[in-house]
């Protein structure tokens, strides 16, 4: 088995600070599915682009690092036997049918502070 990170690219994140359970329903359903079948190891939903701050050597600016139509709305790490299996899982993300897409990257290494949770 290998680990793959899946980066979610969407026009914006659905996870606004005041998002209702209803607004997050599709995302949560998908997340529950992957958690239930054991393929997901960790997941992070990010707040919308308005909450982002970018840091460069010469300046701190408001907004996402890249000025583009899509932003990284969240990411999660899955375990899969090979790339085809990982792509099959990635393809089921609802964002793929909703104008966005996902990027799949093999994980090199990871660290998680045992105190964090």
């Amino acid at each position: 088995m290998a680990q793959y990170a899946i980066l979610i690219y969407a026009h914006d994140s659905a996870h606004a600070p005041d998002a209702t359970a209803e607004e997050l329903e599709t995302c949560d359903e998908h997340s529950d599915e992957l958690a239930a079948n054991g393929s997901m190891l960790a997941a992070y939903a990010l707040t919308p682009r308005d909450m982002a701050t970018s840091v460069r050597a010469d300046a701190i600016t408001d907004g996402p690092f890249l000025d583009s139509k899509e932003v990284v709305a969240g990411f999660y790490v899955i375990e899969a036997p090979d790339l085809d299996a990982a792509l099959a899982i990635a393809r089921t993300n609802p964002v793929v049918r909703d104008g966005g897409g996902v990027e799949v990257r093999p994980v090199h290494s990871s660290y998680l502070n045992p105190a964090a949770s």
């Binding site: 036997p81 090979d82 790339l83 085809d84 093999p106």
Partner: protein, 433 residues
């Protein structure tokens, strides 16, 4: 070299060289594919197979060409692989091993001897169709960029040398070597599996593989730049790949259609330019010089495909090309039927390029004015504004209805977008007229 002892007596050097070249052309893919099963590492397998061919060149003059060259080469390559794995385990690349599903043993060397013996039986190409398909599908995996797919396919499936591939794509040798290395690294790190895609994905993945073969052919058929119109080595490799896929997947109409398309197109190769390399229009070509055996073979294949089921993109393209070729002269071409086939092609492949190509028979069936309206519509759409053939076709239509100044402008636009010298020369003559 025990296997060689069974071969014929001492052979002269030229004969051996021809035998090795023949084995390279016919058996490289099978030998490499079955060596990969032992090494689970594309680089090492490639090296061992290269060594095996070199050993054949050295050993066969004295020992004779073995009765089954493929089995000899495979056994030799696999033995080298086993040695390399045993002796150089530490030195070998630290990249993860290729993922070989279907219960492949964890210790690759363990079964290798048995596997080598099994491979030595019968002719490899007949015994191991799946092995070659695995190799084709891994090289054409959509997770690899198309340039990488083309390069890897030529290197691994066709056994073409890196310098030749670099020359074919007009890049430097280090650039091409780096491109191939990067692709192999991705296969290994991202764990692209070495297998035939499952039924649910097969159509899509086969489409990617066929696209690679078609692109190689078109890159060779109209070399994108340079002095000569045709790059024969690429055409030959594409034909070889199409033939191989035809053997390995005889049930696929797309595979059969693609091979027929390449056959028809290549059958006209000799007449596409005149003795000075000047580009000739279809209407100017000497039909008696076309390869009638290839045309007949393609025709039979197309008829078989059309009877077998609903035709896809390649079968329809082949049918169109074949219908063009079937007419005794350009003027006697069955234009309305060609337009009809284009309509069906547009249904399965709604591409602006197809719509543009349809304008050519449309001009013959319904007159240049009707075709010009179509081309102008496509031009306004903007997606093909950088496509030289749109401007060339538009220019030709304008010239035919007497709008000479506009025609010259359109030819100039086409010229500005064209890098192939035979095509440039053709366009310059048109502007002067």
């Amino acid at each position: 070299m025990k296997a060689a002892a069974a071969g014929t007596a001492v052979t002269d050097a030229a004969k051996v060289e021809a035998a090795v070249a023949d084995a390279h052309r016919r058996e490289w893919t099978a030998v490499l594919a079955s060596t990969v099963r032992v090494t689970r590492d594309l680089d090492l397998a490639e090296e061992c197979v290269q060594d095996a061919y070199a050993a054949a060149l050295r050993g066969w003059p004295a020992a004779g060409v073995p009765g089954n060259p493929a089995a000899w080469l495979t056994t030799t390559a696999r033995r080298r692989a086993i040695d390399a794995i045993r002796h150089d385990a530490v030195l070998r690349s630290r990249l993860p091993l290729l993922l070989v599903p279907d219960g492949e043993p964890g210790e690759p060397a363990a079964n290798a001897e048995a596997a080598a013996a099994e491979a030595a039986a019968a002719s490899l190409s007949e015994a191991l169709p799946d092995e070659r398909l695995r190799l084709i599908f891994i090289c054409c995996h959509p997770a690899l960029g198309q340039e990488a797919q083309l390069a890897l396919t030529l290197r691994l499936v066709c056994g073409m040398g890196v310098p030749d591939i670099a020359r074919a794509f007009l890049v430097s040798e280090p650039t091409m070597a780096a491109r191939i290395t990067r692709a192999k690294k991705k296969i290994s790190v991202a764990r692209i599996p070495y297998r035939i895609p499952p039924a649910a994905e097969l159509a899509e993945r086969l489409g990617a593989a066929l696209a690679v073969v078609y692109l190689l052919f078109t890159a060779g058929h109209t070399a994108p730049s340079g002095p000569s119109l045709v790059r024969a080595d690429l055409v030959q490799q594409a034909m070889h790949l199409a033939q191989m896929l035809r053997e390995l997947m005889p049930g696929s109409l797309d595979v059969r259609g693609l091979r027929a398309l390449l056959l028809v197109t290549d059958a006209r190769r000799a007449t596409r330019t005149d003795a000075d390399g000047r580009l000739l229009r279809l209407s100017e070509q000497d039909r008696s010089q076309w390869d009638s055996a290839a045309l007949a073979e393609a025709h039979e294949e197309i008829v078989g495909c059309l009877r077998a089921g609903p035709p896809g993109r390649y079968v329809l393209q082949a049918a169109i090309a074949s219908l063009y070729a079937a007419a005794p002269s350009y003027d006697q071409t069955d234009w309305p039927q060609i337009v009809e086939l284009y309509d069906r092609l547009l249904e399965v492949w709604p591409s602006p390029v197809v719509a543009l190509n349809r304008a050519v028979p449309l001009a013959m069936a319904e007159g240049p004015q009707a075709a010009l309206a179509e081309v102008d519509r496509l031009n306004a759409d903007g997606r093909l504004s950088g496509y030289q053939y749109l401007h060339a076709i538009r220019a030709d239509l304008l010239a035919r209805i007497g709008r000479a100044d506009e025609a010259a402008d359109a030819y100039r636009q086409a010229l500005a977008l064209t890098a192939n010298e035979a095509e440039r020369a053709f366009l310059m003559v048109q502007i002067k007229n």
